[in-house]
Symmetry: C2
Subunit: 248 residues, 2 copies
Amino acid sequence: MLLDEDLHIAPNCGSCPIRHRAVCARCESTELAALEDIKFYRSFQAGQTLIWSGDRMDFVASVVTGVATLTQVMEDGRTQTVGLLFPSDFVGRPGRDTAPYNVIATTDVMMCCFRKKPFEELMARTPHIGQRLLEMTLDELDAAREWMLLLGRKTAREKIASLLAIVARRDAGLQGQVRQRQVTFDLPLTREAMADYLGLTLETVSRQISALKREGIIELAGKRTVHVPDIDRLIEEAADDADGGMPG
Amino acid sequence: MLLDEDLHIAPNCGSCPIRHRAVCARCESTELAALEDIKFYRSFQAGQTLIWSGDRMDFVASVVTGVATLTQVMEDGRTQTVGLLFPSDFVGRPGRDTAPYNVIATTDVMMCCFRKKPFEELMARTPHIGQRLLEMTLDELDAAREWMLLLGRKTAREKIASLLAIVARRDAGLQGQVRQRQVTFDLPLTREAMADYLGLTLETVSRQISALKREGIIELAGKRTVHVPDIDRLIEEAADDADGGMPG
DNA sequence: GGGACTCTTTGATCTGCGTCAAAGCAGGTG
DNA sequence: CACCTGCTTTGACGCAGATCAAAGAGTCCC
């Protein structure tokens, strides 16, 4: 049996530096105890499709370990990833019964699932959970809109830097090592998966990563392990900011 | 004084063919009667910025007439529109007190505003409203993710066709003329605003519109009025679909 | 060890869209 | 009317990133 610390009811959710947060044990431990009865676990291998777009969903779930993507595919095969799921992120929606996207494990993944009906009943009984879900959804909406800026207006280099910065932040958050200048992390995505998330081709992804390496902004150990000697320099490359002008 | 039919509490919201729906009078007329006390109206001219990114928001609001955009601007001026607001769409979020985007009127706009604090209190008293807001937010999230596919993977021509199809549908929805083969509507956006929404330049937008006109897929009367002789042909150009594969 | 994979890198070439420039076309105003 | 001013169209050209092609590198299995 798994320990509670591993679950979506993760005690660290409050300190998670990025936007997707799960229901937190700290805030509502008593209500969530009831969830114990209706939850179960599923494991998947890297590359496996957890959920196919259009599938009936009779559960909601949250990622315990690993990383998965939400992906849309056009008839002719063009693919766009519309979300990354890290540990503590939520999948599936109360009130919706077919999946709108493919959910694909990009590393080995463990999910904690809740049967949808009892979960919805619990939600009805516990307004706090609904509020939390609304807050999480708003965070996802903000993240999606930030990604729209990236897809619509950033150069290939900026896109890569943005993605690396985001993965670095989430990874650092999971390991509790926030606010350090140097970071080392494993890329949970293949070049192709990165390309699908960034609206590029895998060749362009590879070339831009090589360029960042050549310029010393990142260092690679193997293909997946990335070391960032100065995170601020990376963030600079990402052109990450979103500010309007001044009133007037 | 304005008539209730004009408001976000619009009786037609249930039949609105697209994703952003507002709180509906049909479902919860009694609770919303209380909103009468805390609401007020504001008008804006085309081109005016209603809300600046970073501004303090002490109200939430809903569009009564006209069209506005949600827009992000990078330091160097690159601009990406991340949402279109049509009549009945909602602006601002309970629980968030600064605006994350510029909200810009692209036509003359009338908004119906509610002071945030009383609105939040009402929400706490009326779980139904919270549920509705969650549902609306999920719809917006889906729309944002659909737009990510457009921004990341569609060609300029497909982008234009997609935008025209969406405006046609929303416009037709407002006028109650759903499911007709021919549609005529006014573009509520300048070429530049379209470009900012589609991740293109205004020149490319202009060229692609000219091309669609040349091929008889659309007809123009003036610069803003569009007639679509066969909506299915337009939708075909939009390459609009998002389907995964089959299970296996 | 040596295939057979899968994933990644790198090179050569092509092209869709961006950039720069100029002209057309309202609608408003003195 | 002539003259703005703001929006749109069209043309010529260049480039970032796509496409096509091939070779490297790691891992698994016999």
